[in-house]
């Protein structure tokens, strides 16, 4: 599989919520090769501090040349990225890792996204929507950061339901509450979000034997399988590396109780 180190050009930065930003980047080599669920390593400073690249799921590919990243500001690296201006260069390495695996045709699909974890599900929904019945369950802390994304999933043809911690949009509570009502009509689940959310989704799917794939997040230095820093506990007692074994994995591969 091809991987590139590409000096992308920032075309647009949108603010979708208090600390939610969407970067639109001209990165033709990576955009052309990318598959849903894969990620890029983005440099957040030309200087030595912060030193390391940050991993981001590919949120969307537009045409053959453009990709989008969804970024939540959580520290200095993401803050620097959010402050970038159109026209600036942003070094990317990608596309990296394992993407989502396609469902059987005619399957009813449920996408479950929490917060910034919604990012890769949009790219996947876009590829699925043509011939799949797709429901997107989207959760976040507050409605402001969710409303535009929810509208975009709807435009793709997804049935969309939302949940917010503060009750400002959709169900007042957890997105997993909403999932419970959908499981009986679902053949396959794809989830990305905070670990507790994905652990709940994995357990709910396991209980009713619905196949579930999750996209994991971890601190990583390289994204290439060299640093071995992005370890998670695997269900078989071995360590998994998010960059190469994932970021998308079958839910049953992960030891959720660790």
């Amino acid at each position: 599989m091809p991987e590139y180190q590409e000096n992308s050009i920032i075309q647009k930065i949108e603010r979708l919520g208090a600390d939610f930003h969407r970067l639109t980047l001209h990165a033709p080599r990576i955009a052309l090769a990318a598959r849903p669920g894969q990620f890029v390593m983005a440099s957040c400073s030309p200087l030595s501090d912060p030193l390391l690249r940050r991993p981001f799921s590919i949120h969307r590919c537009i045409g053959a040349d453009v990709l989008q990243l969804l970024i939540r500001v959580v520290g200095r690296g993401t803050e620097l990225l959010a402050q970038c201006q159109p026209g600036q260069r942003l070094s990317l390495i990608g596309p990296l890792g394992q993407g989502f695996h396609p469902p059987a045709s005619e399957a009813s699909i449920c996408l479950v996204g929490g917060g910034i974890g919604i990012a890769p599900l949009f790219f996947w929904a876009e590829r699925l929507a043509a011939n799949q019945r797709c429901t997107a369950l989207l959760g976040s802390r507050t409605g402001m950061e969710l409303s535009q994304l929810a509208a975009e999933f709807t435009q793709l043809g997804c049935r969309v339901e939302t949940a917010t911690d503060d009750g400002t949009l959709g169900h007042h509570g957890l997105v997993t509450d909403v999932l419970a009502a959908h499981l009986s009509a679902t053949d396959r689940v794809y989830a990305c979000g905070p670990m507790p959310m994905m652990a709940s989704v994995a357990e709910m799917c396991r209980a009713v034997r619905i196949p579930c794939e999750v996209s994991l997040e971890a601190h990583m230095a390289c994204g290439l399988g060299a640093c071995l820093g992005c370890t998670v506990h695997g269900a078989n007692g071995r360590y998994l590396h998010v960059c190469k074994d994932g970021p998308v994995m079958a839910a049953e591969e992960v030891a959720w109780n660790r």
Binding site: Y4, Q5, S48, L52, R53, A221, C222, A226
Partner: protein
């Protein structure tokens, strides 16, 4: 000196090991080579030092294993590796095709283990040299003593040399009182070359949770933050011993690499910089070449140890 327009000679020798140029990638930062093959023209490098191998596979430490710090990073990977058998069967076939020197970093818990591993790797087609890791800070067994007690370091060196006819490089830990004493000990033990420095032991704490940021609590610091210490140690060691020295520590640009060569290193290794910029090592080869032309030097060997101490 007049600038040079024609070709310059980048080749160097590490005792019996000749390199097309002085730029190597450091163990633990470049996987088994294949991980970077899409991004880096490996044949452009002087060589690849592969992730440290033990006789048996090791699972490594629990997560979190890495944390970013000011101009650097801490790691406590815990020597996760596929073991000698799988390395030879699964990783060497690619490495034989990479077009540059292949140096295998080896580690163990006892003299016997080091010797058995060295013997097992000797005669494997495509392995050009061994680098003995006596300095990994992350394992609690006896490994640390090999890197901190001069007599123990000499004994490991001697055991490996006796078990192989490959060139043997010994990689030193900076976490010692007297780096020159360590270098003298491994030189006396028969090392063909010395590489330094491995990571400096450090620590990071999350003030909010009051917990260490690494599951292992402590880990090895690498990156630009450690470069001045590495440069100082390389200069002290290169000034004191006769065998070739390989400089490691925070090297991210050609200028960094050149500073180590001036301090007396015959070659350098690029480590953490590979994570940030996979193209870094290749860019250094071009940058060193350009520097030599500008300085009117026809060979990189002419600048090794050419630091000017007089005003």
């Amino acid at each position: 000196m007049e600038p040079i327009n024609g070709p310059v000679d980048l080749s160097v020798s590490l005792g019996p090991l000749s390199l097309a140029n002085p730029v190597l990638t450091a163990s633990g930062t470049f996987g088994y080579g294949a991980e970077f093959a899409h991004l880096v023209p490996l044949a452009r490098l002087g060589g690849v030092v592969v992730k440290g191998i033990s006789l048996m596979p090791r699972a490594g430490n629990p997560p979190p294993r890495i944390v970013e710090t000011a101009c650097g990073m801490l790691n406590a990977i815990g020597l996760e590796n596929v073991g000698a058998e799988r390395f030879i069967n699964d990783k060497m076939p690619f490495l034989r095709t990479c077009g540059c020197r292949v140096i295998v970093n080896i580690l163990g818990d006892s003299l016997e283990e080091y010797a058995a591993l060295a013997a097992k790797l000797t005669g494997v087609d495509g392995i050009d040299a061994l680098e003995v890791n006596i300095s990994c800070p992350n394992v609690k067994k006896g490994g640390v003593a090999f890197g901190t007690v001069p007599d123990m370091a000499a004994a490991v060196t001697h055991a490996v040399k006796a078990a192989t006819d490959l060139p043997v490089i010994v990689k030193l830990s900076p976490n010692v009182t007297d780096i020159v004493a360590m270098a003298r000990a491994v030189a006396a033990g028969g090392a063909d070359a010395i590489s330094l420095i491995n990571t400096l032991i450090g620590m990071a704490i999350d003030a909010r949770t009051r917990r260490p940021k690494l599951a292992n609590v402590i880990g090895g610091l690498s990156g630009p933050a450690i470069k001045p210490i590495a440069l100082r140690m390389v200069w002290q060691v290169a000034s004191a011993i006769d065998i070739p020295v390989i400089g490691i520590g925070g090297i991210a640009t050609a200028e960094d690499a050149i500073e180590f060569l001036l301090a007396g290193a015959a070659a350098i290794q690029v480590g953490t910089a590979n994570f940030r910029n996979p193209a870094a090592a290749g860019q250094m080869v071009s940058g060193i070449e350009e520097y030599l032309r500008q300085q009117g030097e026809s060979s990189v060997r002419a600048i090794v140890g050419s630091l000017r101490l007089e005003a």
